[in-house]
């Protein structure tokens, strides 16, 4: 029978040789990849952790998700990266670098980027209802029922979530004041300099 092969096709032998070699090679590679995928498997989704590390952790919900971790998960599943106002442009840039996506401007519907704020409870008007304490995502308000509530300034992320629940509207959101410690230098952007 093998004498008939050259008649069927003069290149059959070469073809069979080529196909066999490539198949064996592909099989080896596939086996190697399969072994690697099992042996080097990483539990969980590391990209979600990396995205979460970039997000500012204010847990404000302006992106539409209840916290930063769910938004990180959503980004890993394909959501747009421009929904975080506290992270601002710098945050979008870091996410774009991390995920190798395009840098897009901040989504206006989610809010606008502003200077950092802190919450401040006007103590004369507070009635001690604890609604703001339950709303704060980082437990930055100290107080209990019928007692004075106050905001721990160093813990407050300025997320605004305590303002709507307050029934007497006694929470203000002033800007964080600039002092000699947290003062930031401007980027030099001039066309000419002065000399002697």
């Amino acid at each position: 029978m093998f004498e008939l092969i050259p008649e069927i096709s003069p290149w059959l032998v070469e073809m069979i040789q080529a196909i066999t070699v490539i198949t064996i090679f592909a099989g080896l590679c596939g086996a190697l990849l399969g072994y690697a995928s099992v042996y080097f498997k990483v539990e969980g989704d590391p990209i979600v952790e990396q995205i979460n590390a970039v997000l500012p952790q204010t847990q404000c919900g302006q992106c539409g998700h209840p916290g930063c971790k769910p938004y990180a998960q959503a980004i890993a599943d394909g959501e747009a990266i421009n929904r975080c106002p506290p992270g601002g442009e710098a945050g979008i840039k870091s996410l774009a670098n991390l995920l190798e996506l395009e840098i897009i401007p901040l989504n206006e519907e989610c809010g606008e980027e502003s200077l950092p704020r802190v919450a401040f409870i006007i103590e004369e008007e507070c009635i001690g209802c604890t609604k703001c304490i339950q709303a704060c995502p980082v437990d930055a308000i100290v107080g209990t029922a019928k007692q004075m509530h106050t905001v721990i300034v160093s813990e407050c992320t300025g997320c605004d979530l305590c303002v709507p629940p307050c029934p007497v509207d006694c929470i203000e959101m002033p800007f964080v004041e600039t002092n000699l410690i947290n003062w930031r230098q401007q980027k030099p952007n001039y066309q000419s300099i002065e000399l002697h």
């Binding site: 979460n52 997000l55 500012p56 952790q57 204010t58 847990q59 916290g67 930063c68 710098a90 995502p137 980082v138 437990d139 930055a140 813990e155 992320t157 600039t178 002092n179 000699l180 410690i181 947290n182 003062w183 930031r184 230098q185 401007q186 980027k187 030099p188 001039y190 066309q191 000419s192 300099i193 002065e194 000399l195 002697h196």
Partner: protein, 543 residues
């Protein structure tokens, strides 16, 4: 040991990488002798005049509005503060406290600082008439000397204003390679400034005595007086004063280094004197070295020997617009406007004042700002020249002159594109902001500004990361707490439903609950009799 005391003047053998040679412009102000400036009427003294930030909140101001104060009276106290870096300030004149308020004192951010404003009301007595008593300090304990230095308000007067008592707080050790050394920094490498030069020429003895006091405090074995070679008269003065010292137990020598900027920087000075480089974690005291400026040593002398608090310093007033440039004793708190009137400087020719030298100084446009411990020179030059900033041509000159051997060009590119992580790898933190790279840049790019911007942004980024880490932790803790509460509630509910179910079952069998009560009673009796029988048999067994 007298054999150690020899008047040796040596030339420096080591040098540091890079450096520039700007035009010195020192002869304008160094040829005239020191003059004491007429005291002014109004003084504004900042409460925090040392380089340590975040100390304002822990300083107590012990004078009140309307209180009368005398020259040298202490205005702030640190007794109740836990911050060990506080240094008090003193009144520069006899007068009344007018106000204690926030005033913008020339910080580059233009933010206001707490300032005490004093109105002078009579002739402030001249220095020498205040006290003629000289303390003998050789028997005093080191701790009391350090306390005296702190109480006198002495900070590093070379321009960096680091609290001196902190630098002197731990004694130096000695080993075979590096003996405990005090290096006196008389380099004054920056153009225009000549206050240290004149101070040495006129007060060499007192500076040497100040150096001896400091060496006693930190147990030095050697003193090196490091000076640049453009100050020959100062070298002669020091040589004369060393000759007059009869008994001394330390090695004292003068090291003359070639004039190069920035040889006055602490790291570069240590490299010139010892040839060694400090690693990033090391401080000079790890190499058993202490560096002090001459003006600081003079202040130490005045504080320890003459009991005088630090209320004034020698300031170089120079520039084209000044009619009599030179070095003047100016009390702290003198507003620049008074200096402008005293020296007949025409305000319309003056665009801004430079505090310090042209390379590391600061530009001031408001003339109400007072002098302070940081101000060692004031330059009043005519209208300036504007030069255009061009693109970087990557010529590499900046790298050639950098004394820290950084790559300013790469730092510039990264700073411009706001990439902060690569800058950390390029050792941005090691930059001393000397301005040498800026000086040689042919495209006149403001490199030092970019680096300062980058440093501030990196600091801000670090702060943000810490804050977000903290928020994340608190958020996670809160989630855990809420989960715990939810689970506990669920478990309670489950238990309650089970109990209810059981109760309803029991009710169907035993509607009044009498049957269960009877059963329980019978069980109790059974158990009791069982127990009694067991104890009886136990007793019988023992017998």
């Amino acid at each position: 040991m007298n054999s150690m005391h020899k008047n040796t003047t040596l030339n420096a053998t080591y040098k540091f990488h890079g450096g520039i040679h700007p035009t010195e412009n020192k002869l304008i102000s160094s040829s005239s002798s020191i003059v004491k400036l007429e005291p002014g009427k109004l003084f504004r003294i900042q409460v925090n005049q040392s380089s340590v930030q975040n100390v304002e909140q822990t300083i107590d101001i012990i004078v009140t509005k309307g209180q009368k104060v005398v020259l040298g009276e202490v205005l702030t106290s640190f007794q109740s503060s836990i911050n060990l870096l506080n240094v008090p300030v003193h009144s520069p004149c006899n007068g009344t406290v007018l106000e204690i308020e926030l005033f913008s004192c020339g910080h580059k951010s233009s933010l206001p600082e707490m300032t005490i404003i004093i109105q002078a009301n009579e002739e402030t007595p001249h220095e020498t008439s205040v006290t003629k008593l000289k303390n003998k300090w050789t028997e005093e304990s080191q701790k009391s000397l350090i306390n005296k230095i702190r109480n006198a308000g002495i900070v590093g007067l070379g321009g960096a204003t680091f609290p001196t008592h902190v630098k002197l707080s731990s004694p130096l050790s000695s080993d075979s390679i590096n003996p405990a050394t005090l290096i006196i920094n008389a380099m004054e490498c920056e153009p225009y400034i000549t206050c240290d030069d004149r101070l040495i020429r006129d007060y060499a003895n007192k500076i040497i005595e100040g150096a001896l006091i400091v060496s006693r405090i930190v147990n030095c074995e050697k003193i090196v007086f490091a000076i640049e070679d453009n100050k020959p008269e100062a070298v002669l003065a020091i040589q004369e004063s060393i000759k007059q010292i009869t008994e001394i137990e330390l090695g004292l020598s003068i090291l003359v280094a070639p004039t190069k900027y920035p040889s006055g920087g602490e790291k570069q000075l240590i490299q010139i004197v010892t040839g060694q480089e400090l690693t990033k974690q090391q401080l000079p005291k790890d190499l058993n070295i202490l560096v002090q400026n001459v003006a600081t040593l003079f202040a130490v002398y005045q504080a320890i020997v003459l009991n005088r608090n630090l209320t004034e310093r020698l300031v170089t007033i120079t520039g084209d617009l000044v009619d009599e440039p030179g070095n003047y004793w100016i009390p702290f708190g003198t507003p620049f406007s008074e200096i402008i009137t005293k020296f007949n400087i025409s305000k319309k020719d003056l665009d801004f004042i430079i505090i310090g030298g042209p390379l590391m100084g600061q530009k001031i446009s408001s003339f109400d700002i007072p002098t302070s411990k940081k101000v060692n020179c004031l330059i009043f030059n005519k209208r300036i020249v504007k030069v255009e900033v061009k693109d970087c041509i990557r010529c590499g000159e900046c790298e050639t002159v950098c004394p820290i051997k950084l790559l300013p060009q790469q730092l510039y590119w990264f700073s411009k594109s706001e990439q902060w992580k690569p800058m950390e790898q390029l050792d941005l933190k090691a930059c001393i902001e000397c301005g040498a790279c800026d000086y040689v840049c042919p495209s006149d790019i403001p490199l030092v500004d970019y680096f300062r911007f980058a440093k501030s942004e990196v600091k801000h980024l670090l702060f943000k990361e810490k804050a977000s880490e903290l928020s994340k932790q608190r958020f996670d803790n809160r989630e855990k707490r809420l989960n715990r509460i939810k689970l506990a509630r669920k478990a309670k509910q489950k238990k309650a439903t089970q109990d209810r179910k059981k109760a309803s079952e029991n009710k169907s069998i035993d509607p009044d609950g009498k049957k269960t009560a009877i059963l329980d009673a019978l069980n109790r009796v059974k158990n009791k009799t069982k127990q009694k029988n067991e104890t009886n048999t136990g007793l019988s067994n023992e017998e």
